[in-house]
């Protein structure tokens, strides 16, 4: 009994710390809000816009992802593997950098307008509701493509072989194999994107705003910063929590059982009878090229404009860079210290998994508002800006890290629990000799994600900053706000490079530490 208690103590402590942070913030918000009476008509518009843009972003991302995933599934070409890897990049791409890149491509003086101008087309604008949606599709089209491609590759090659032996034409293959797969995969994929877009802040902050393109998160920020109406900010935060929790409850009910039975042949070869036809080949090529251009052009634009500007970066960039690196590393450490014990306990105790998922109920701005309300009676909240950024970044990374670690921990426990128990290997010795070495890869990957996420985050810092305390994303935001675009490009290049370097280094370190 004593051993059992000792085993769950770290997880219990981690749960308590995380619950104190998240539930404390939620409680502070709920108490201060005192109901939803403080809301105005504009706030109701923000709620409507939040739901509408998230739904539309999810729908468009999934619809556009289908032809791209199908093309990637049935074509083999040089660079295919690299392109599929790159589809994971937006996950760690700092939002503010992506926005800068999108403005460079779709903005008033961007590449698209420059290309359209000779034909007398009115310049299009990236600002407003459609800009928010373009940015969300930019971030989530790759995610949707990966999920759908995964669905396609989960159909065993044997099924396609069977289809060929039954002389199925393309229409029959679609009806009997592809449409059932899509029906199984699309609800989960669109719901995941819908969830992410519900808490969109940095995109709305930079591209949205105004009565027709304000999300609830942005409305919290505006009530907080511009009106300093803490009651309204708290009410809006409560609304955001209600939206997140409802969506999470729906997501918990939608499972994705893409069951096509077992197949022996894991390597999915291109399917001959599906790849023929010049028309289909052209469509596939077009889908891949357009998707690649849509994803790569903004990143390319950042580098093209930013690299030459690097020497002219203003002096304020360097302290901001150091601050961001420090926060990213500290937040990564906190993420792992909380997520590892929770994930280790979560394979046996449901409460530990629930504790790890708690941060998903609160968005960054909700947690920031709550923390501000708690801190204000005691200290000047701006002095807490950096610790708050660190903690919220860690909190929001913990669910991801836990989810990444859990499957590996299940394997570890299935393979070595018996042996460890038979030798009496436990406690710190077990951590040092068994847990850490066997989990090196997922720990490195989680650390890379947590660091990249924290490095690129533009969220809570906007609430707390006094204008002098900056992270690198905030510095970039300020440069963009004052239209110093060349310097902003340099800062974006620096941020992008550091973020990817952090991810790469930590992920590599995990591989390197893996004794296998």
């Amino acid at each position: 009994m004593a051993t059992r208690l000792r085993e769950i103590t770290p997880a219990a402590l981690a749960s308590a710390a995380l619950a104190a942070l998240v539930l404390g913030a939620l409680a502070a918000v709920a108490i201060r809000a005192g109901g939803l009476t403080g809301l105005r008509a504009t706030d109701l518009a923000a709620i409507r816009f939040t739901l509408w843009q998230a739904a539309l972003s999810a729908l468009l991302s999934c619809l556009l992802a289908i032809p791209v995933a199908r093309a990637l599934h049935r074509r083999r070409f040089p660079g295919r593997g690299l392109l599929i890897s790159l589809l994971g990049a937006p996950f760690i791409l700092p939002v503010i950098v992506a926005v800068f890149g999108l403005i460079a491509v779709f903005g008033r003086r961007g590449l698209v307008n420059a290309a359209l101008a000779p034909f007398g087309v009115e310049p299009i604008s990236i600002y407003g509701a459609h800009g928010v949606i373009i940015a969300h599709v930019f971030f989530n089209l790759p995610l949707a493509t990966r999920m759908i491609l995964h669905g396609w590759e989960a159909i065993p090659t044997e099924r396609f072989r069977l289809a060929a032996s039954l002389r199925f034409g393309p229409a029959e293959v679609t009806r009997h194999l592809e449409r059932p797969m899509l029906r199984a995969v699309l609800p989960g994929a669109s719901l995941a994107i819908f969830l992410v877009c519900l808490t969109s802040f940095a995109v709305a902050l930079t591209l949205g705003g105004g009565p027709r393109a304000t999300t609830v998160e942005l409305a919290i920020y505006q009530a907080f910063r511009f009106d300093f109406d803490m009651g309204r900010a708290a009410s809006l935060a409560l609304v955001q929590v209600a939206i997140s929790v409802t969506a999470l409850l729906i997501a918990a009910r939608v499972t994705t059982p893409a069951s096509f039975g077992a197949g022996h042949d894991r390597t999915s070869l291109p399917i001959p009878q599906l790849s023929v036809g010049a028309g289909r080949a052209t469509l596939d090529a077009l889908a891949i090229l357009l998707a690649a251009a849509f994803l790569l052009a903004p990143i390319g634009a950042v580098f093209a404009r930013g690299l030459p500007a690097l020497p002219e970066l203003p002096a304020m960039i360097w302290p901001a860079t150091l601050t961001s690196l420090g926060i990213a590393l500290a937040s990564t450490l906190v993420t792992l210290i909380i997520a590892l014990p929770l994930a280790l306990a979560a394979t046996r105790h449901r409460w530990a998994e629930i504790a790890a998922m708690l941060p998903m109920t609160a968005s960054a701005l909700v947690m920031g508002t709550g923390a501000f309300l708690i801190a204000r009676p005691f200290v000047n909240p701006t002095s807490l800006a950096l610790p708050m950024v660190l903690l919220t970044n860690a909190a929001l990374s913990i669910p991801f890290a836990t989810r990444i670690l859990m499957p590996e921990i299940r394997t570890l426990q299935a393979d070595y629990d018996r042996l460890a128990a038979s030798l009496g290997l436990r406690g710190l010795a077990r951590l040092r000799l068994l847990t850490l070495p066997r989990l090196a890869r997922p720990l490195g990957f989680s650390a890379g994600l947590a660091a990249a996420f924290s490095m690129g985050d533009l969220g809570v810092i906007t609430l707390f900053s006094d204008g002098q305390t900056r992270t690198l994303p905030l510095a970039l935001f300020q440069l963009m706000g004052s239209y110093r675009m060349d310097q902003a490009a340099g800062a974006a290049t620096l941020l992008l490079t550091l973020t990817f370097a952090l991810f790469w280094a930590l992920d590599r370190a995990g591989h390197h530490a893996d004794p296998r």
Partner: protein, 230 residues
């Protein structure tokens, strides 16, 4: 002496009872049809599965509530007997001290144990770098270092070829003889029982029968064993 006192094991529809003693230093085979509960019986003795009723005693002391690592026994499973990411020296050190510390005295003992099983100089290798037979030897070397009064073998040599298996059984017999170890060995092969174990526990029809003379049992098997042996 190992005492199984009115032991009742239940797992869903599965039931197995055992009520007998095994003398210290005895070498006992555990045979019976697959699914009869041979491995489950060893799991209960080693503390990985809790019985429904009854007690497990060693020399009169009830070990029913004792953690697996604290029980007076070493166990070798069918697989996963070594940590693949640790070298043999560290794997064996865990037998001396579960904290894995290796001082000079420990190193000397580990080297001696490796030498005893014919693996001298292999301390820095990892399990993946040696053969299956050598891995079995390393597992035995760790049991040798732990020097617990009982050694449970849950078919650890099942994947080895006949010659290697015979070699390992001979090694077990030697080591057990030197240390006076009580051996319980699950096996599918009556030949293993004949070679290593003078006594046999027959597990069939929900009962683990008291140990009986192996030669006599195999010469005149009851119907259930006859069906199984074919």
């Amino acid at each position: 002496m190992l005492t199984l006192d009115n032991l009742l094991i239940e797992q869903g529809d599965f039931r197995l009872s055992a009520d007998f003693e095994i003398e210290t230093g005895a070498r006992v085979a555990v045979i019976g049809p697959s699914g009869a509960g041979k491995s489950t019986l060893l799991s209960v003795i080693s503390g990985f599965f809790t019985q429904r009723a009854g007690r497990v005693l060693w020399d009169g002391i009830d070990i029913t509530g004792t953690a697996p690592g604290e029980r007076p026994l070493s166990i070798l499973f069918q697989d996963q007997n070594l940590f693949p990411h640790l070298n043999l020296e560290t794997n064996l050190a865990l037998g001396l001290n579960p904290k894995g510390k290796i001082d000079r005295a420990a190193r000397a003992r580990i080297e001696a144990a490796l030498e005893r099983v014919g693996l001298d100089g292999f301390g820095k290798r990892k399990p993946g770098q040696i053969s299956g037979g050598q891995q079995s030897r390393a597992g035995l070397a760790r049991a040798l270092l732990r020097a617990r009064p009982m050694l449970l073998l849950d078919e650890p040599f099942a994947a080895l070829g006949p010659a290697l298996k015979a070699e390992m059984l001979a090694l077990v017999a030697e080591i057990a003889g030197e240390q006076g170890t009580t051996v319980l060995m699950v096996s599918h092969d009556p030949e293993d029982a004949r070679v290593l174990c003078p006594q046999t526990v027959l597990v069939a029809d929900g009962i683990a029968h008291p140990p009986q003379d192996t030669a006599a049992l195999l010469a005149n098997p009851p119907p259930v064993l006859k069906d199984y042996l074919g």
